[in-house]
Amino acid sequence: MDKLTIAPSPHVHGHDSVKRNMYGVLIALAPALAASLWFFGLGALTVILTSVISCVLFEFLIQKFLLKVKPTITDGSAAVTGLILAFNLPSNLPIWIIVIGALFAIGVCKMTFGGLGQNIVNPAIAGRVFLLVSFPAQMTSWPTPGAVDGMTGATPLGLLKEGLHTGKSISEIANLPTSTDMLMGNIGGSLGEVSAIALLIGLVIMLAMRIITWHIPVAVLGTMAAFAAIAWGIDPATNADPLFHLLTGGAMLGAIFMATDYVTSPMTKNGMLIYGFGIGLLTMLIRCYGAYPEGMSFAILIMNIVTPLINKYTQPKRFGVK
């Protein structure tokens, strides 16, 4: 008989893995990916492929030649970053800008801090915000779904902000989409954020696969809905209704796929609720009172940075402690 293996307990493992979670997220992103191809066609495909390939390639090159460690690109995390970054970009963005965004996301925000699990902010969102402040014109020209090539228009949130700014009431603002169009995704916006329904299917997939828990998405969307309901209740002429806020901009994509990033969100359930509340509140403050029409990315980045503090002050419910 050969020698026996000695190891401390437990002697079995639940077969969960980083790969299972990352590829699970990719599967959950598939409906939104299909919707983006449906509405934006080849442009979306180009952006997605460029972003994913650049992110994976940069991670590989940095690990192989700069850090000289075994590349871990097969774990799927770089692909997730690439896909989420692409979802946050307009479908007509020039390729070279996408590559810069991917380099910033993977190179600066992920690998500089020590790679997977070590980054303090969500790489995809940081990459997107970096591009937004660096290339504001290209980053805010949104192709209209299904329109002739080259046609661009504003996002519903952009129309809203512009209209209110010029002193119109909501009913006077022209071209605001119907709820059905917003739910399905037939609106202007970043290529992966437009279809609320596709993103909600993704949420169901992630909950069913136990990749995430309900706490963060519900806290984000609940806070946004509550804030919008109060504002709308006070003055419906200058404040959009809750459904409008939930179905437009990055609300769904942010709440479901970006705020729930493991690495940059809190470790306890209470912490997740506080974090989600913070994101929802900041998003609505920026949307209603800020200079930008949309604030989801900024809100998540800010709360990413607050996360260590939330972890410090929230503990799980201990056994035997009332």
């Binding site: 026996l4 437990p10 493992h13 828990t213 470790m267 503990q315 402690v321």
Partner: protein, 452 residues
Amino acid sequence: MLKTFKIGGIHPDENKLSAASPIQVLPVPAEVKIPLAQHIGAPAQPCVEVGAKVKVGTLIAKAGGFVSANVHSSVSGTVKKIEEFVDANGMKKMAIVITVEGDEWEESIDRSTDIVRDIKLEPKEIIAKVSEMGLVGMGGATFPTHVKLAVPDGQKCEALVINGVECEPYLTSDHRAMLERPEEILMGVKILMKALQIDKAYIGIENNKPDAIAKLTELAKNYPGVTVQPLKLKYPQGGEKQLIDACMDRQVPSGKLPINVGAVVQNVGTALAVYEAVQKNKPLIERIVCVTGKPLAKPSNFLVRIGTPVSACIEAAGGMPEDCGKVIGGGPMMGRAMMHTDVPVIKGTSGILLMNKKESKRPEIANCIRCAKCVNVCPMGLEPYLLSKLSAKEMWDEAQEHNIMDCIECGSCNFTCPSNRPLLDYVRLGKGKVGAILRAKAAAAKAAAEKK
């Protein structure tokens, strides 16, 4: 809604390969090796000389203190030697080796299978009898039973909780005992209730054993005060604190014992042994051992004499497979990997689990992705990712502040971690260090108080 414990928990694959295999009596081996320390507490002191003739049930070593247990011969024959041996953990332990001759039992033991229903002994006498017969917790923790039954002054026991959960994957010895010897278990429960002078007992059984739940529920109708409590399948329900929470909705506070919330917990195997000790005058000389594992030809449940070599049990279950990479004493979640199989079955050996070479290796470790799954599954409400990091960085004060000593070492965090991080390894290390620091502080405080 089925009851269960309130915080955390996991669902490992059950793999109850031997659940349908009835308990078989394992033949008495040619020689037994009976260790003096088979329990938590002081080792027993030998009271026989080399060359002495012993029968089955002869006292061969006396308890070495209050928290200790008597040891009896499990065979008849001659004491060959009293010597050190290397146990499954690689530690040197004293054992009495007996060469088997025939199978002659002490006359005082009632070997009939009739159920003796009349409990003649008074509470104090029951506890004395349990102590005399060398009973320890049979679930694996091997805490001397009489110590648990002696409720300290100022504390009050309200209910007995019987652990029929068997939440460890693979293991089936308690399951088979409940199916094949339910009357004796229930009589044991009745005796324990009398010893504790209470009229309420819960038998917690997980709902993956519907046959055992049905059988005991039916029979328990004749035992007033005994409730069979079906529980929702979830590991580690067999943990003492988790089981009390599940059955009684009470949570034992940090650092306290079950008696603080009015509970005493005993395993079904212990209840069976209590019945045999009190009603049949039979010392703890044999136990049901589940011998199981995927590479094994015939996963089985055996009634084994204490001191029988583990290798003999494996032989009876189809022999040591070619592909065996690991032998575990106990279940896969909390059992200990054995260094070799030339070690005896002891009072706490609930199972012998074999794993193939592939299963024996731990998966590759990746970076922590801060997914919080370890926090979600911890049944004590701790933060394993943080405790393991604090231990790795030797930050003992911080580890203590984050309640590292509450950890019950159930392994749910390791089991769940997608990055396969050895969380519990580090937490165990931290517990050892923090425990030592706390004991040193307590000793220093005591010394200072005495000085004044």
